[in-house]
Amino acid sequence: MPSARAPADSTKPLRGGRRALVLGIGNILWADEGFGVRAVEAFHRDHVLPGDVTVMDGGTQGLYLVNYLEGIDDLLVFDAIDYGLEPGTLKLVRDGEVPKFTGAKKMSLHQTGFQEVLSAAELMGFYPGRLALIGCQPLDLEDWGGPLTQAVAGRIPTAIEAAVAILTEWGYAVGRREAPLAEGEALLGNDIDHAAYERRAETGIGT
């Protein structure tokens, strides 16, 4: 089965020993909450990356994502951000600006935000050296089962351009993928890839 994580034997230092993680987080079942995952899915579909860059669909794993930050020097995250901006607004946040607050009064694991993941990484001594967050202001978070809204879906190409620029600036060689991904190599399979998921939403079958 495909895993976007680089094979275990590619841990040898390539770029001065630095390693990067490109992470998309969010819930694909909750409309614009799925922005991060859909963005990283498209990024992975269209680009080839060196072996020291890992691409990951983090879903809503919350605190558990701290496990994947170990050994990571540079972290790039796609996520839905509530900055109270116009829906569809993209915002790039870097390093110390990336919010690190956490709500200790959370009711469950699922409420852990990514800020908590970063705090935990810091406590454990593997906070990433460079950090960038590509956020998109959601329009609709309450359409359970709904697709990304057009306001958000339309910003994915721009978000990906920003990601390519950041990775390039960090010294990672990002190239366009020439041949399309073979079936089974995509980041999301089993009919939950973006196209298959939204085909349903568009035709309205079952609604």
Partner: protein, 596 residues
């Protein structure tokens, strides 16, 4: 005005109303409102929440063999449990039998998830309801070391270790960003641990955070990848080649031995860290036995961890199956997931519409038609509710009932059922803990009991992991390498119409999926998740659910800082805010408390 519910609680909503709303920016999630009397004792409890409600819409018309991948996304933590429940439901509908090895590997995946969830819940979500982080700063490292060594052989216990850790913690706190420890009610009167116990617990908080990384490697090995391991209708997508080499491709001896070594570490950590901590913390809180709720009367567990592949009967299930009603521990009643009169969901107090709301619907016939309206006594507006009207509809969670009864599900329910059945693997550890703490059996029916049951169950689970890993190795060595049955993979082998159900015990309780298949596609799909059982609103007869019941009669030291409410609700490990985690630009307090 006082009323008595059919399930035996006296409700009085005349006193001061306290509203705890953990996330106000986004509609819903979980919110509780309680009324306290003149002595700040809870006399009425109203629990409301947002619950996933769209899965049937998304899944209708899709391939049943893909359903697991969708249900896995319902929740960020129960991913594997939802996937397992889904493949079981499809296999039940289509009469697909899985090989023994597949059953064994699924049990290992599920038990790993249980252990991982229990450890993370105890240390990272719940411990801070009992442990005061700021108090740990004033602990004497030498005395902490003495305390740690008096309760366990765990090697990380020297005075120097605790001194270093305290220094790290001090630096972290002084940097002004308490991180995971932010927003606590530090210094609250309901914290009872001495500074040394607090420091020890904080040390183990960090050790657990480090160790949980190891545990999930089992999911990566048997599930092919992580997060979001792969699942398969008909077995497990995990080829085994015990003669193979290297780290990629089929699972080989080196990988199998690696799993085995992680299991050994899980046993050690549970027995030398988790259980001693639970007991140490429990000894300071054994007078705080609130929060029992329904646990002393009505509990339910579907059961899980089948010894034999394809046999989900109670005798095959190693995790207990059944229902206890009216506190009658002498009788454990069997559950039939197919019987339309047993498991039903009501919406009298939920924001949905049924043709006849006096009746419940079995999940195969379930409908989910939203209908949002506030009752006449509600305060505020539709988008900014100040106080709910619990006499009307007041939650996005439906009210599932078993034969009309509200029940608690989860580790405490499972443990009570196993205890009632006299199973030594459940009874003996519970009796030992109760004796060591010097408390009666009834102490189990409490918030602390719920927290303790989770730890005891974790110990049971790590040994079951050892058992199933050994069982797998024996089977492989005997030459049985089968992990999947693809005889009925092709839809042309399926009946034109079929229906089925699958169940598991998720870490937080009974989880069921019900499916109808028509012409090779999904025709209906319904999930009832554990927090629907525990967090349900009142039903047509007025029975309150497990969360509401557990809050009743609890005294609050300070209604403005309702630590006791959070402690009890956290003890259920609720899974309400399953999905939303949107970032916000500043560190504002996510939980708000309003007293009216």
């Amino acid at each position: 005005m006082g009323i008595e519910t059919p399930n035996g609680f006296k409700l009085d909503n005349s006193g001061k109303r306290v509203v705890v709303d953990p996330v106000t920016r986004i509609e819903g999630h979980m919110r509780v409102e309680v009324n306290v009397d003149a002595n700040n004792v809870i006399r009425n409890a109203v629990s409301t929440g947002t619950m996933w409600r769209g899965i049937e819409v998304i899944l209708k018309g899709r391939d049943p063999r893909d359903a697991w991948a969708f249900t896995e996304r319902i929740c960020g933590v129960c991913t594997g449990t939802h996937a397992l429940t889904s493949v079981r439901a499809v296999e039940n509908a289509l009469d697909i039998k899985i090989p023994e090895n597949a059953n064994t590997i699924r049990n290992i995946m599920q038990l790993t998830l249980q252990v991982h969830d229990h450890v993370v819940h105890f240390y990272h979500l719940h411990a801070l309801d009992w442990v005061d982080v700021v108090s740990a700063l004033s602990a004497d490292p030498k005395a902490t070391s003495a305390l740690a060594q008096s309760i366990s052989d765990w090697p990380l216990s020297s005075p120097g270790y605790f001194r270093d850790l305290q220094g790290r913690l001090k630096k972290f706190v002084e940097s002004g960003q308490l991180g995971p420890f932010k927003n606590g009610y530090w210094g609250h009167a309901a914290y009872k641990l001495p500074p040394e116990a607090n420091l020890m617990a904080v040390a183990h908080y960090l050790e657990a955070l480090d160790f949980q990384k190891e545990m999930v490697k089992i999911h990566t090995i048997y599930g092919g990848k992580n997060p979001h391991p792969n699942w398969l209708v008909g077995g497990v997508p995990c080829a085994i080649n015990i003669d193979g080499t290297g780290a990629v491709g089929a699972v080989n001896m080196e990988r199998l031995n690696y799993v085995s070594s992680i299991i050994d570490q899980m046993i050690t950590f549970t027995e030398q860290v988790y259980l001693p901590d639970l007991q140490a913390i429990g000894s300071f809180y054994k007078d705080w036995l609130y929060g029992g709720g329904l646990s002393s009367t009505s509990v339910m567990s579907y059961g899980d961890i089948p010894e034999h592949a394809n046999d989900y009967s109670p005798s095959s299930l190693k995790m207990p199956h059944g229902v206890i009603l009216n506190g009658n521990l002498k009788e454990v009643l069997p559950i039939d997931h197919k019987d339309p009169a047993q498991i039903q969901e009501f919406v009298t107090h939920s924001w949905y519409k049924y043709p006849d709301e006096t009746k419940g619907l079995h999940p195969w016939d379930g409908v989910t038609e939203p209908h949002y309206e506030l009752g006449p006594k509600a305060k505020g507006t539709r988008t900014n509710i100040e106080a709910l009207d619990e006499e009307a509809k007041y939650s996005w969670i439906k009210s599932p009932r078993w034969k009309g009864n509200a029940v608690e599900v989860g580790p405490l329910a499972r443990y009570i059922i196993g205890y009632a059945q006299g199973k030594p693997e459940f009874k003996e550890p519970a009796d030992k803990l109760l004796t060591d703490l010097g408390v009666p059996l009834t102490a189990l029916f409490s918030t602390l009991g719920r927290t303790a049951a989770r730890a005891l169950e974790c110990q049971w689970a790590v040994h079951q992991l050892r058992y199933f890993q050994d069982k797998l190795m024996a089977s492989l060595k005997a030459g049985d390498l089968a992990t999947a049955n693809t005889d009925k993979w092709s839809p042309d082998k399926w009946p034109a119409e079929a229906k089925g159900f699958g169940f598991t015990e998720a870490p937080r309780g009974a989880l069921g999926h019900w499916i109808k298949v028509k012409a090779g596609k999904i025709d209906n799909y319904q999930c009832i998740v554990p927090t629907t059982w525990n967090g349900s609103p009142r039903d047509p007869k007025g029975n309150i659910g497990a969360f509401e019941a557990a809050l009743m009669d609890t005294p609050l030291a300070d209604p403005e800082k309702p630590l006791e409410i959070l402690r009890t609700l956290h003890s259920f490990d609720p899974c309400l805010a399953c999905s939303t985690h949107v970032m916000s630009p500043d560190g504002q307090d996510m939980a708000t408390v309003t007293v009216r």
